[in-house]
Each structure stands twice: as structure tokens, then as C-alpha cells.
């Protein structure tokens, strides 16, 4: 693995498989950012199970050899708000049951930094892959149960929604990847759906999906949504555009 940076920002690093270790012709980069703040305590085990199930389902996909997955957690408990569980690596190297520790919720919500880390790392690594002749696209899932908290101007994140949007715009105008789909997923977010929707627009994120209440059934559907959407985006490589088969709801 090697370490990359998002832009010139030392505080936003990510790890990834060395390019000289990659043998295929094309890859879909997948980033999953999971909220580990105090408020998810009530459903942390089910959220963890959803993560494990989603990645295990991706391992069974016919496209599994062409997926590189990065998983991060976010909370103000972590230095820089984000902790990388693992960087971009192939599914063959991931055993979700042993590699993903149970969630230990705590701290507040650096949602902007988490989004920037998830999206920016895909764009940065994707740019390198594209320069090295790999056909590359990406898909990002930011799973949260709340908005940036404390709210601005005393918020914990170092980046702004505008900076996230500029990063996304850069990837589009520079054709750094063939396409990148960004999805903000809200769980138990009935009380802040409007703010999350506003954040989604300000940050240039493609979709905001409200899962609804954090029940076992809904989180199981979340896992299925992640694996199906990942497969769809992976099948879209080479078409010149993003998958058009991402569901608008879970």
C-alpha cells in the first residue's frame, strides 16, 4: 500500500494499493464513510452488520475483481475527524467479518471532512489510475445520522461544502475519472432532512437518500443498495458515463 494526499492537504491522507500491483484494465473505486458519532449508539451493531453485509455482497459480484474499496469512519474523536479502517484495496484482500471492528460510537459529527475525505480520495487515486491507462470510475457512500455538528461557525470540520463541490467539479471538468457517483445516506434523519439536503446541494453531491428509521430491515436494505449500486456503476465502466441504474430510494 502507499499513502496519497487529497490536493496538497497534509491532513487528508489515504492509503491505496500501489499501481504497479494492479493487473486489470479497469477499476471502480468504492468509498464508504460510516458515521461513528455518539448518536448512532442505538443502532451501532446493526450499522456495523450493514457494512459487513454490503462488502461481503460486493465480494460475490461478478465484477468483484474490478473493485477497489476504502472504508472510513468519522467522528470528532478521531484526529482530523476521520479514521481509515482500510485504504483502497481489492475485495480479495478484505475479510469484512474480521477486518471491520464493532463500532464504538462517540464524539460529534465532522460530516464535511468525512465527505471530503471519501470523495477527494477517490478523485485523487482515480486520477492516478487514469494517468496510468486504467479505465476508472467511482462511487461514494456517506452514511450519517445527522448534519455537521456543532453547526457552523463552530463546526469541527476544516473544509467547507464549497471545497467538496470544487473537488467534484475538478474531477468532472478534468475528466479525471470516467464518472463518479456520490450518495449521501441519512439514517434516523427525519429531523434534519432539510439540512442534509441543503448540504448535498452545496457540496455538489449527486443524491441524498433518506433510509428512514434505523431498523434491522432498513439497514439490511441499505447493505443491498450499496452492493447493487456498486455493481451497476462498475458495469457502466467504458460507457463514458455513470450508471443510470442507481435507485433513488432504499
Amino acid at each position: 500500500m502507499e499513502i496519497g494526499k487529497i490536493g496538497n492537504m497534509q491532513s487528508f491522507q489515504f492509503s491505496s494499493t500501489r499501481i504497479d500491483q494492479l493487473g486489470a484494465t479497469e477499476y471502480t473505486l468504492v468509498a464508504i464513510a460510516v458515521d461513528e458519532t455518539g448518536s448512532v449508539a442505538g443502532f451501532a451493531d446493526d450499522l456495523h452488520k450493514a457494512l459487513v453485509t454490503a462488502v461481503e455482497a460486493c465480494k460475490k459480484s461478478p465484477r468483484s475483481d474490478n473493485l477497489l474499496v476504502r472504508v472510513i469512519k468519522f467522528s470528532t474523536r478521531f484526529p482530523n475527524g476521520v479514521e481509515e479502517i482500510h485504504g483502497f484495496k481489492s475485495l480479495a484482500e478484505i475479510d469484512p467479518k474480521s477486518d471491520y471492528p464493532m463500532l464504538d460510537p462517540g464524539g460529534q459529527t465532522p460530516l464535511y471532512d468525512a465527505s471530503f475525505s471519501a470523495i477527494g480520495a477517490i478523485i485523487a487515486y482515480g486520477e492516478e489510475l487514469t494517468k496510468n491507462d486504467f479505465l476508472t470510475n467511482g462511487i461514494v457512500y456517506i452514511i450519517t445520522d445527522g448534519v455537521e455538528y456543532p453547526p457552523p461557525p463552530n463546526n469541527p470540520s476544516t473544509v467547507t461544502p464549497g471545497m467538496i463541490k470544487r473537488e467534484i467539479d475538478r474531477s468532472v471538468s478534468g475528466e479525471l475519472l470516467e464518472s463518479c457517483i456520490t450518495i449521501l445516506i441519512g439514517i434516523n434523519t427525519a429531523s434534519c432532512a432539510n439540512e442534509l439536503s441543503a448540504f448535498k446541494n452545496a457540496a455538489g453531491i449527486d443524491q441524498y437518500i433518506d433510509v428512514g428509521e434505523a431498523t434491522k430491515g432498513k439497514l439490511a436494505k441499505l447493505a443491498a443498495f450499496v452492493s447493487q449500486s456498486t455493481s451497476s456503476q462498475s458495469q457502466a465502466i467504458g460507457t463514458g458515463g455513470a450508471s443510470r441504474q442507481i435507485s433513488a430510494t432504499i
Binding site: D20, L22, G23, D133, F134
Partner: protein
């Protein structure tokens, strides 16, 4: 110590794509027991099911190469004749089993077989052979038949007679030629000598380019074999196309496939179409310095 790696790729040309025809070029490669094999076959567009023929030619050739290497253990001067015989035996059997006509098998055959002791590249038909060195210098050998009527290894009896008649009915006629171009570093290509003209007889027997052990040790990094589709990219000089497809950004796994996919994509974005199917296979030579 020398390590060998291979990769290959083939892609349908726009003419066949829009006409609803399959890709009639095929390529295959592998490393087997420390020997590298790379094969390219280009089916005749006026033949029968030559998409199948080119595959059968390539697969029977690589199979014959495996067997020869396994049983004989070296590729000497007579190897190409023995390999051709094994290939013919396999093709005859397959043709009969599948009920194929002779014109389904009209396809060229170009292959490389390389070991740590060297090897050779053999061609019956047409195409381009490339030697690329670590200092980025290149030697390109292009082979063409007059009237774009190449020899196909399956020609026999009446088909062979017809082929000879098409080329003037004299085995000494000069109907097949080779041009060699050299590029050193950033300099432009320079043609090495005049075009060499071969007789019809020589073209039918096939052309061999030997690769010595010394050559392998003298910084030769890649051997590439191309179908003549590389010479038919709209508004692209064939030499520039070869340079493009041999400019590998990295060398793990499907390195040649990645380069050609991206190269074709970039050409298309510039409005430069593939006028013909294209195939290539590449052998990569890696020399590990021994630690004393």
C-alpha cells in the same frame, strides 16, 4: 536471471462494427515453463468464418509451441517447420470435426517464442514486429504483400495454386517486402536501408526473425507482434500507432490490453477511427541483476 511476461489484445475495427461483422483478428499469449509465447492471427475479410479461423490458427499455433517446448526443450533453426507440421495436424482435425471450409481458415499467423536462451519470431502473412529496448529505442519491421493479398498458412492444392497465380504464377516474383525503421530515444524514425523484397517462395515459406540470447541481455525489454490493422488507423502513421501502443505506463497484469484500450479510446476522441480490426501480443523481458 531472465523473467518473461506476456499480454495481448484484439479489437474490432469500425468497418466491421458498422457492417455487423465480427472481429476477425485474434491474439493470445502465455508463459509456460519459462518460455513465452505470443500469437496473432488476422482473418481474411473476404473469406468465410475467418473470425473462427483466426482463433483456430492462433490456438493451434500456441498449442503446437507448448508441445514443441515441452518435448524438445529448445527453439532451434528447424523449429518453425516442426511447429508448422504440428499446427497443420491439429487444424486439419479441427476443421473436419467442425465441418469448416478451407476459406473459413484463411488467416495469417505471426508468433514469437522466447526463452532465456533467445528464440524467434515467425510470420506467414503480414504485420509488424517491434523490438523495444530499455532506452526507449525501437526497431520496427513491417511486412506487406503486393495487392494486399497475403499468404495464409492453410493454402494448399487449388487454393495454393490460385494464390501463386494471383501473384504472377512465378515463385521467383518479388511480391512480399520488408521495411525496417529505427527510432533512438527522442529522435525521429529513420529507415534502415532500402525495402527488402522477398520472392513469392520466401513469403510462402515464412519469415523468421531470430532473437539471440545476447540480444535479450542487451537491454531488449519488449517484443511486440501486430496484425496489419496497426497500419490502418485513420490519419495516423503506422509507426506512430506502434509507438503509442508500445508506450506502456506500467507492466503488471494486462499491461498491453490497458495500453491499447486507452490508445484506441484516445484516437477515437481525436476522430481517428480503426479502419481494420487490430490485434497484438507482447513479450516483456525482465532481467534481474544477480547479487554478487
Amino acid at each position: 536471471m531472465i523473467s518473461l511476461y506476456t499480454d495481448h489484445y484484439f479489437h474490432i475495427g469500425d468497418t466491421h462494427l458498422t457492417a455487423g461483422k465480427p472481429c476477425q483478428d485474434y491474439a493470445i499469449s502465455s508463459v509456460n515453463n519459462n518460455a513465452a509465447f505470443a500469437v496473432v492471427s488476422d482473418g481474411c475479410s473476404k473469406g468465410g468464418h475467418t473470425d473462427i479461423g483466426s482463433r483456430l490458427i492462433a490456438l493451434s499455433t500456441i498449442n503446437a509451441l507448448y508441445e514443441h517446448w515441452t518435448k524438445i526443450g529448445e527453439f532451434n533453426e528447424n523449429a518453425s517447420q516442426k511447429i508448422a507440421l504440428h499446427q497443420e495436424i491439429k487444424l486439419s482435425a479441427i476443421q473436419e470435426i467442425l465441418g469448416l471450409k478451407l476459406n473459413d481458415m484463411y488467416a495469417t499467423c505471426l508468433y514469437a517464442c522466447i526463452t532465456s536462451k533467445g528464440g524467434f519470431i515467425f510470420m506467414q502473412g503480414d504485420g509488424v514486429i517491434v523490438l523495444k529496448y530499455k532506452d526507449e529505442s525501437l526497431a520496427l519491421h513491417r511486412y506487406e504483400w503486393m495487392d494486399n493479398t497475403p499468404f495464409y498458412p492453410v493454402y494448399r492444392n487449388e487454393a495454393l495454386t490460385n494464390f501463386i497465380q494471383l501473384h504472377g504464377n512465378d515463385l521467383q516474383n518479388l511480391r512480399f517486402n520488408q521495411e525496417i525503421w529505427i527510432k533512438k530515444g527522442e529522435e525521429d524514425f529513420q529507415q534502415s536501408g532500402e525495402k527488402i523484397n522477398f520472392t513469392l517462395s520466401q513469403g510462402i515459406q515464412g519469415i523468421t526473425v531470430y532473437i539471440s540470447e545476447e540480444c535479450l541481455n542487451q537491454e531488449l525489454e519488449f517484443i511486440g507482434i501486430f496484425s496489419d490493422g496497426v497500419c490502418q488507423i485513420q490519419d495516423v502513421d503506422w509507426k506512430d500507432a506502434v509507438v503509442n501502443f508500445m508506450s506502456f505506463k506500467n507492466t503488471a497484469g494486462e499491461f498491453a490490453k490497458r495500453r491499447m484500450i486507452m490508445g484506441i479510446k484516445n484516437f477515437k476522441q481525436e476522430g481517428k477511427k480503426l479502419l481494420d480490426d487490430i490485434a497484438y501480443a507482447v513479450v516483456r523481458i525482465e532481467i534481474e541483476k544477480e547479487v554478487s
